[in-house]
Amino acid sequence: MLLDKKVLKLYVEVAKTMEGLLIEFGIPLPDRYPERVTAIGNIEIVTDKYIFMTMFDTVQSIVSLAARSFTQSMSPYIRKKFKKILLANVKIFDVIIEYGKIKNYLTMPPVYRQ
């Protein structure tokens, strides 16, 4: 449910925003992934923890990337779009990290003092 309702929805929106920007400025777009994946070979490998960690790493790197893009853009129009993307990802990172802590998928860094 977390994946469907929040994460998927967010990234479909982010992809649409970026596609709109690229089309507007006439920049060549990259290839898209297939719409649906139906057959997977070894399904035991893909555990819940694996899915969660992949998603977590992705969101972390997108927050970094969006912050850098925000500082490096000159026009207010583009900067506003990156700010929106950054804030949406920050919001979802909050949710994901709490979920990971509850389900014990995340390895926590060492505590300051035992």
Binding site: F25, G26, I27, Q60, V63, S64, A66, A67, R68, F70, T71, Q72, M74, P76, R79, K83, L86, L87, V90, F93, D94, V95, I97, E98, K101, L106, M108, P109, P110, V111, Y112, R113, Q114
Partner: protein, 172 residues
């Protein structure tokens, strides 16, 4: 998230500083300390440059920067004190200089402050990503958003005055 950080605050109410240190992780401690020492350094630089600024509206911009920084410094010092983390040395309270250097003109001051804030936005994002406890994460998120709003205003001011440098445009 506000609710979860509220829960954390309630659960931390009766704890001693020693106990609180078991709740915070090393990455957060580093980021908090690093943010405070960077802010001290930027505060010192801004106060020094305030003496050399010639334009009145640049002086106003620097003054509002100093005010925001001082407020954030107070907040950060409180958080570090709460968790019993060693504080860095502070810069002098104020710097008043009567000298005038031609080399340090308004454009140089603006560029220096602007590059500082540019790199700071990423620092905030990294600190946000590396924190596990909700209260500290929320604090970094707040600073991040404040910094981004400040950056928006500063870049428009810089463009108006002609202080910013435009990267080369995209042309096929």
């Amino acid at each position: 998230m506000d609710i979860i950080s509220g829960f954390q605050k309630i659960s931390e109410l009766g704890t001693t500083v020693r106990d609180k240190q078991t709740l915070i992780n090393v990455s957060e401690v580093w980021h908090l300390w690093d943010h405070l020492s960077e802010r001290y350094s930027i505060l010192n630089t801004t106060i020094i440059f305030r003496n050399f600024a010639r334009d009145n509206d640049l002086k106003m911009v620097l003054d509002s920067g100093v005010k925001t920084l001082a407020q954030q410094v107070t907040e950060l010092e409180a958080v570090l004190g709460e968790y019993g983390i060693q504080l860095p040395y502070r810069p002098p309270t104020d710097v008043v200089s009567a000298a005038q250097y031609e080399a340090i003109d308004d454009k140089y001051i603006f560029r220096r402050v602007f590059r500082g804030i540019q790199s700071f936005v990423e620092t905030h994002a990294e600190a946000f990503l590396g924190s596990t406890s909700p209260t500290i994460r929320q604090k970094f998120k707040k600073y991040s958003i404040e910094e981004m709003d400040l950056y928006d205003k500063l870049i428009e001011y810089g463009k108006l005055k002609g202080f910013t440098m435009e990267p080369p445009p995209y042309r096929v």
